[in-house]
Symmetry: none
Subunit: 207 residues, 4 copies
DNA sequence: AATGAATGAGTATTCATTCAT
DNA sequence: GATGAATGAATACTCATTCAT
């Protein structure tokens, strides 16, 4: 591997990631406004000024944070869905990836899923709206595929159904969190059956 | 200067309401943190200090605001549901009341619907969690009633289903807002059918 | 005197003046950039936030400060000059007012006279330039009057002469400050004679 | 990677000069405080840390800068004045060198000419005061020489006259800058005549 | 010698809250 | 009760300086 280092490549990964991780943790706990640069810096183990070497502003930091997480999540989702055949199977995969994501990124996921955009900078709102739209369209395309395949009722408005499914995620996660006794898999299964029935399909297990 | 003891008597008693209305408007537009007492006072047409005669702090004001709005909403919901017979009919009523509420209080509704206000003071979180629970339980009770009446599939976890339905509200509202062309009633009907199918019931129209 | 109070008129005079005086003192001692709002507030005996009740920003404060001082100075100068006849007499009055002003406002006068504008905000530069121009034009008009009256040599470029006289003020003041032994009046007399000779007139004492 | 021990040997030794030139340019444009080490380093084409190899601090850098410029200017002035005979002739030379200097170093000259840099660190003030004194004394000695030669009026306070002439420089330069239409030489000639008359001498042209 | 990533003290500004009138 | 002038804690961001490489 010959020299191929962008200006501060070697350290950037480490420090920048540390800052983003710290920001994620603090913002998740306190929200956007109460999260202070000081606390993020301390949690990241870097000096306050260092943050401004990697991000232009607090807003830019959060923006990149959201971007990074949603992009990664959506990319994985799309890749995994493309790997299976059948709309019902894809919905199953989607549910699985989703549950994994929530398990790993609970805090940010909550912000994203909550649609908590009131009072956020417009840049961030637009960004989150865009991510939401991409996500909804992904679900919608699976539903439409199912309708073409004849496994979902064709009379259903796929966009509306996708919006409902998208919107239910946060509640489902909270439900799972509050019913720790129940198997997450059981919850996921139940929820999937719920949506399959709603889409006019036979439950997954009997498929 | 003659005796002018109660110069604005007609407004007395409504001052607290004026403040809450103003707070609702400002918070709704900008979010909790960016909303300033100054702006709320101005919009309410009262002095800045006056707000502190009626509320201990900004936090207390918002807390009471949320309490007031959710309480009114839930009370109306419960009253209206009690007036009709049949689980499906109750779900229909619920959807109707809900759409009305959103229409009237769009911005605050969004905050409330997000369910988990990341970054809000813990007092507010707990308060909103409580409201959410009361709401979910209301839906759940309707579902259980339907299961007992034999119109909803008894195998469904009513609590989970209620959580899903609760969670979908925000998304549905956003969907309605983005599809202004479509009739809101049509959207409500479609969504209701979606949930009725999910619950194992025949669609409302054919009931 | 019936009620005729602009919003915060009664206190504004006192506090605002206190702030401007403090700002003048601090800026004079340290210059624009090193002068901190904290120190100005402390010296004025008010809270830091109070300054922002009267001035939009540090820049606005300094701007108003310059405006206030130069305006007062120029107004007095113009008034006093209008009260006497004869160009030489006017020059005499001008010198007198000038010396008084320097005695009273030494610190700000230094800033203004120095033309220290490098690095200043453009707003301030323009403001100081404008004040300088008004001042130079005043001197110039006296010179031109003297030329019309035949007491000053008509071949002299009045604008250039005015610029020279204007520019010499700071140096003269510094000279006076460094030669505390000499009578200020003697210095003023010498300087006046210097300029009268330069203008082609007989010295003042023999007029 | 072959031996590349001195990749920029041709520049070695000039690095300090490069830094001072860059500092002069930046400070001249923005003033002392707003000038940042970052910008100076970039303009000088060196690393930020390198500046601290040559100068102890920003203050030291500026101090050395002022020293270097004023020293060069004064030295040239003294050398050129020594080369001519006659006080009037020396004043003529002085004006010429001065105009050249302003033309070449307009921005720094302005800072220097302001004479009393309000707000500058005390070290710098003292330094500039010293330069000013040396300059004034130079002018003064020419005047005194003229008085001894009988070309200038002996009753004039040479120190005061020198101070006035010194102080007028900034204004004259600004005047020249604002009257770009006029020939600089004409302005210089007019100004010289002005001062010669003030000193009790016949104008230069008729000498 | 040369660099530039890292640092944290220092700054202007905002805003919830108090309190004298 | 009602007010809004006054306050200062809190916060994002800058920049001279250091030091490991």
């Amino acid at each position: 591997m010959p020299e191929e280092r962008s200006p501060r490549a070697p350290l950037e990964g480490g420090k920048k990631q540390a800052i983003m991780n710290a920001a994620l943790a603090v913002i998740t706990e306190k929200g956007y406004h109460p999260a202070t640069i000081d606390e993020i810096a301390e949690k990241a183990g870097v000096g306050k000024g260092t943050i401004y070497l990697y991000f232009e502003s607090k807003l830019a930091l959060v923006s990149e944070l959201i971007d990074s997480v949603t992009r990664a999540h959506l990319n994985e989702m799309e890749k995994r869905i493309a790997q299976v055949q059948g709309a019902k199977e894809k919905l199953l995969v989607l549910a699985g990836v989703e549950f994994d994501f929530w398990r790993r990124h609970a805090p940010l996921a909550q912000i994203l899923a909550s649609g908590e955009m009131v009072g956020m900078a417009h840049e961030l709102r637009d960004q989150m709206r865009a991510a939401r739209e991409r996500y909804v369209r992904l679900i919608q395309s699976v539903i439409e595929e199912g309708q073409r395949q004849g496994v979902f009722a064709p009379s259903i408005d796929a966009a509306l159904a996708a919006a409902i499914i998208f919107g239910a995620r946060l509640s489902l996660f909270q439900f799972a969190a509050e019913h720790r006794g129940a198997q997450p898999d059981a919850i996921r299964g139940q929820a999937l059956d719920f949506f399959l029935r709603a889409l006019g399909a036979a439950p997954a297990r009997e498929a």
